[in-house]
Symmetry: C2
């Protein structure tokens, strides 16, 4: 590492929007940076649902962290799992070694939360990582393949029923994308089932969809979802999830595919660092430092912090990026002997997409829905994709899908199914019993 050997070491845990922004913002600082992530790639999370529904390839929205930071010579990247943070010794403990830091930025993100019902997870996967997206894609596509093979109507119906739990942005986007997949793309590809009979249910415990928007926009989003063929069930609680069924307010509904988009819980690293809130998010100081430890900052979805209006800063990519840059700035200040500054969140507006030509927007009080919201969403997401190559290809994929209603990335991978699936398959008599010979031929 040559001449910079003596410079202070900043360890960054997590290569998401927050961690990567922090690393970038330290490019001219007189520090060495060591970024640790459990995967080798940065994911553009807002488009994960498009991978889960076969519109984009994983590589369209993910890039090796090493490659993103290749020209920033003061950064070392490793792919490791952080097991522990030793605040007293100032060491990060990974599965393979201990790394001593001078400054630490923890950007561990969040996972989906089952509100204490973790036994639901195998039956209702969430959507946070590329692997989650590939698993959901496998389930969604396999359900249609199974429906085409079934002979009895109830089972076919169950295979063609998709339940999405939670009507935040991920839930809304996923529900809209599955409805479009069924009603447009798959329509003419099956011979025995009519993909138009697909049921997509979006279930929400609260009184409206996209609750972080105004009531008017929520209403607009609900209408647009219904136009795409999504059944929106508000004020409905999920009381059980199991092998190919879900219980809504105690009533059982058969559905091969259940997707969980109902809640988040912060990375377990939050608890290592200090006091947390109900969602496991770390309570940090207004300057993002961990109480009692000025050398440690935590950023992104894993922290609970208020904006200047005393509203909680939302768990979105722009907030994480702003925090990442702020944490870097605080370190530069400390190197100059100055105190860290409080973080201020700048809300640039919110956009959600629902489907083709459908979305809602709230940009500094300017609120609109429908085609222009969708267009704004598409342009802004294209613009923010890391690196040009992806932008060009994603643009091609989108343009193509827009014109021809195609979904190009509909590959079912033979990834070994989770243990629970194997059990589920065995319980499903269609998979193991041989039916009486069908007279397909004569």
């Amino acid at each position: 590492m040559g001449k910079s050997e003596g410079e202070p070491l900043v360890v960054i845990v997590g290569g998401g929007f927050g961690g990567l922004s922090a690393a970038h913002a330290l490019r001219r600082a007189k520090v060495r940076v060591h970024l640790i992530d459990r995967t080798n790639h940065h994911v553009f999370q807002p488009l994960l649902y498009q991978v889960a529904t076969g519109q984009l390839s994983p590589a369209d929205i993910a890039k090796p962290i090493r490659s993103v930071l290749r020209d920033q010579k003061n950064v070392t990247v490793s792919m490791s799992l952080v097991r522990e943070i030793d605040k007293d010794k100032r060491e990060v403990v990974t599965t393979s070694r201990r790394i001593k830091y001078d400054y630490l930025i923890v950007a561990g993100g969040a996972r989906h939360s089952y509100f204490g019902k973790d036994e639901w997870e195998p039956f209702a996967p969430g959507l946070k990582s590329l692997d989650d997206a590939l698993e959901i894609r496998r389930r969604v596509l396999t359900a249609f393949e199974q429906a085409e093979k079934y002979d009895d109507e109830p089972r076919r119906k169950s295979a063609m029923t998709f339940v999405i739990v939670g009507a935040g942005p991920t839930g809304v986007e996923t529900a809209g994308a599955i409805a479009e997949l069924a009603h447009n793309t798959l329509k003419s590809e099956f011979r025995r089932i009519d993909a138009d009979h697909t049921r997509v249910l979006l279930v929400e415990a609260g009184p409206r969809v996209l609750p972080s928007y105004t009531e008017g926009l929520s209403e607009s989003a609900k209408k647009q979802l219904e136009e795409l063929g999504v059944e929106v069930r508000l004020r409905t609680r999920v009381t059980g999830v199991g092998d190919r069924f879900v219980e809504l307010d105690g009533e059982r509904l058969d559905a091969h595919t259940v997707i969980w988009a109902a809640g988040n819980v912060a990375s377990p690293l939050a608890k290592e660092l200090g006091e947390t809130d109900r969602s496991g998010r770390l309570l940090v100081e207004p300057d993002l430092t961990v109480p009692g430890h000025r050398e440690i900052q935590a950023i992104g979805d894993m922290v609970a912090i208020d904006d200047t209006h005393k509203n909680p800063v939302p768990g979105v990519a722009p907030a994480a990026m702003q925090m990442g840059r702020h944490a870097a700035k605080n370190i530069r200040r400390q190197l100059e002997g100055k105190a860290p500054e409080p973080f201020r969140y700048l809300d640039k507006g919110n956009l959600a997409t629902i489907g083709r030509n459908a979305g809602i927007a709230d940009i500094k009080g300017l609120r609109f829905g429908g085609y222009f919201a969708w267009l704004a969403w598409a342009l802004i997401h294209l613009f923010f994709l890391v690196g040009f190559r992806y932008r060009a290809i994603v643009f091609l994929e989108w343009a193509w899908a827009y014109m021809f209603y195609t979904r190009a990335v509909r590959l079912i991978s033979d990834i070994p199914p989770r243990a629970s699936d194997i059990v589920a398959e065995q319980r499903d008599p269609a998979r193991v019993e041989l039916h009486a010979p069908e007279r397909e031929a004569h």
Copy 2:
């Protein structure tokens, strides 16, 4: 299925080049077609090695079979595993049902063969399916990530040693691609290891690489491989493969990554149908029918058949496609009361690529190596990719990679590792022991 209910049913097993060509060629025949494949996609196999080495995404070279055949209304597609063929009852038995056929085309393809040493497979995966390619990609990329973390030189060396067994086209292409990945793409992305120190060994039991070409072209290919930094070991036998090592003529070589490209064995369906050769390939009549069963034809890599010069027809995509079209023609003839005709293989030439600007070509006696062979290879492969969308995107990826030496699709997925890997990880002390604190910081 409407008005065509009474038409004879042709069942096609396998959606590779052979099966798909047969289905296409039956588009105007008065038959119903039922194509069965264990996956939902057709793969452009000649480019699999580019997925395995991170240059292309799975969706660039694979397409849902349903989508390829969507407009051919006489075809039904199902994703099922064929367990048995009952020749007497004329039924194909899948895991979920029995399907009665009037005509049957079996295009089951081939898998890699370990020549009776199946216990080597977990340590030396082969490259036949998309899943194989993703598994090899995971291993290759993970090896570099591990090398960057190791502190002791022998282990680092082992992680940076890649052994490819077998110098047919797949072995040569894979070896060239890994050498390029290491020496060009990864070069400036690591801080602790020098990717230039990567060793890529191509091991071949026979006396030359690409033995299906002339001696002059084999010699040219070997030189081009060596220019890319591949060590070519001819007349060398693999005598053992195990957890992170390979034995070459009895001598142990530590290598995290071993890739098997040494031999093929036909689909087990061949044995269901009749007599087979040493490689498990079905011995069919000259007209592709199964002895004693004119209603059954077998095509592609799973059959052994000679061309008009008494040379065996090679296991390549053009041969499989020609057989698929021929089988369809034979069925049309039988429907008209005519006898099936013998199959004649038309050899249009052979091309192999080795790396950037490197390849060899043998087109009807015109033999050349180097840049123009590579260019011919690239143009022909682009042209034959199924469907324009892929062609456009693959062209973009290739152009980009050519100009900037990038490999865009370098994603390590968290696919649960095979059992053998878990064992290997546990045996690897670097993964479980904590080292003494490294003084990275001060």
